[in-house]
Amino acid sequence: MIRFLLNRVMGMVVVLFLVCLFTFVIFFVLSPDPAVQICGKNCTPEVIDQLRANLGLDQPFWSQFWTFVSGLFVGRTYGSGPNAIDCAAPCLGYSFQTSQPVFDMIAQRLPVSATVAIGAAILWLLAGVSAGLVSAVREGRFADRFITGLTLTGMSIPNYVLGLSLQFLLVVTLGWLPFPQAVPFSEDPVQWFSNYLMPWIVLAVGASAVYTRLTRANVIETLQENYVRTARAKGLSPGLVWRRHALRPALTPIVTIFGMDFAGLLGGALITETVFGLNGIGKMAADSITKNDQPVIMGVTLLAAFFVVIGNMVVDLLYTAIDPRVRVGSAA
């Protein structure tokens, strides 16, 4: 078990390192000089040189990369002498736009993204799995075909189109929901809830369509398994056959995908947060793109990769707990 864990952690570190390297190469090699950008219009070559030195851009690639990576763990110092700025670990640098530490900016917005992700995940899991079950039970009947049609539609509608349509319909035309306003939960729970309701729905529609299809396919496949026939041959009640012998095997693989999807969403829902003006990591990333705020984009990329890799590992561990076949260390 310990070896397995070590293996996983090693793999994780490698992936994260490669993500760092990839991202760094892209921003180092491909992108326009950030010093020129920060400097703005009325700029002199001296100022640019000074900025380069402060940002460490005058260093060779590997040295810059090393400073960046070590900055993640032990922090780093920009510039030297009295003007030096200390960036405490984990240092992701400073935003070109706001001059705030990127890490703080992310930490500030993470709760919003997490709220979006958790609510959406609960919704799509419930909706997706139950629709998938109904579809599987009524295979070939009207309900199944209806749900299949819905899922195809749900998978096809781009979330920004759905978001705008919902907002126009529910807020502008029908007035069922108030216009979004940034309020903390404690102040106005109703407003808070309605702020998040549409993003949850929008994210859940596409995802639950995928989960519906997956659940349906898995359940139908599992019901054809020989062990389900065995269970019937034992004279178990249909309910027991379903619960024990069809559902558990059918739903177990969904855990994997759910973990990955949820982890991916924690890194920010760029489109949805932008459409609904939610001030999460996704919106921050989307805004940074238009302003070419490289440290922020890079920080968000790394964060997303981090969540995905961690999610991957959690899923793997979870899997060893729920699927006896991959349980390691249990002696035969």
Binding site: N226, T230, A233, K234, G235, L236, S237, H245, R325
Partner: protein, 287 residues
């Protein structure tokens, strides 16, 4: 048809059994007007190539035909007509009085539960007020009866931790826990190695003589039935080719098809006998 050997009363009486599928091309019958009897404590072999309808016959008796299949005719079990029995009543017979062993023990066992859970499952659902502990004891006993060594420990293992032959023993243990009156074994040895096949057949014979349960052994392999059964039904394309005492069919087959099947089988009775002496039933390797 009245060739009832030995016993006077039949445990199972099948008349005019037809199993059909509705397809786009119309009704396709895979079992056609089949008649046979199984005496109490008797052992019947149903033999045929794949597609002969032998497996459908067994599923029809269990009332477990796949979707889209229909059955007609009469299946009388211990005086009860099964074809008209409500599903609820059929369920109380299934697993309790008629038990079934399937071909591929790995896929027939649920990988997510310990074998103990799966053996005890039928017992718990057919007998009310059974505690977890009692059920577990029943499972261990059943495993001991099929000669699984170290049953008290193995009861908590998962199917993938057993070898092929051991898994089939688990399947048999599963049927035993209920003391059924009829055991239907559908190709119980096909997925197994030859040496293990002999052991499983021995075990089936042993259980039959111990419990007095009737046995229907379904196989494509005449060598297999010759070991265990006393009565034979030969099927081809859903039709009954011939039936009678096993001895008689082996020595004097009436139909060309039966003769052909017999010719296809090398006379390996002796070989199997030899193997059986070479390998003790419990010598099978545990994984």
């Amino acid at each position: 048809m009245s060739e009832t050997p030995r016993d006077t009363e039949n445990l199972l009486r099948v008349r005019d059994l037809t199993v059909g599928f509705h397809t786009a091309a119309g009704q396709v019958d895979v079992v056609k007007q089949l008649d046979f009897d199984l005496a109490r404590g008797g052992a019947l072999g149903i033999v045929g190539e794949s597609g002969s309808g032998k497996s459908m016959t067994s599923l029809a008796i269990m009332g477990l035909l796949p979707k889209g299949a229909s059955r007609s005719g009469s299946i009388e079990f211990d005086g009860t007509e099964l074809t008209t029995l409500p599903e609820r009543a059929m369920r109380s017979i299934r697993g309790d009085r008629i038990a079934m062993i399937f071909q591929d023990p790995l896929s027939s066992l649920n990988p997510y539960y310990t074998v103990g859970t799966q053996i005890a499952e039928a017992y718990r659902s057919h007998r009310s007020g059974v505690t977890r502990r009692q059920a577990r004891k029943v499972a261990i006993e059943a495993m001991e009866r099929v000669h699984i060594r170290d049953a008290a420990r193995r009861v908590d293992h998962y199917p993938h931790q057993f070898s092929g032959g051991m898994r089939q023993r688990v399947m048999i243990a599963m049927t035993l826990s209920m003391e059924p009156e009829l055991i239907i074994a559908d190709e119980p040895t096909t997925a197994l190695d030859v040496t293990v096949q002999a052991q499983i057949l021995d075990l089936l014979a042993e259980i039959r003589s111990d419990t007095g349960a009737g046995l229907i052994l379904i196989t494509h392999d005449l060598a297999v039935v010759s070991q265990v059964t006393d009565h034979l039904v030969v099927m081809r394309d859903g039709d009954l080719v011939e039936q009678g005492a096993a001895e008689q069919i082996f020595t004097d087959p009436q139909r060309d098809y039966t003769r052909m099947l017999l010719d296809a089988v090398p006379r390996i009775d002796d070989e199997i006998g030899l193997l059986r002496t070479l390998t003790a039933p419990t010598a099978e390797e545990e994984s």
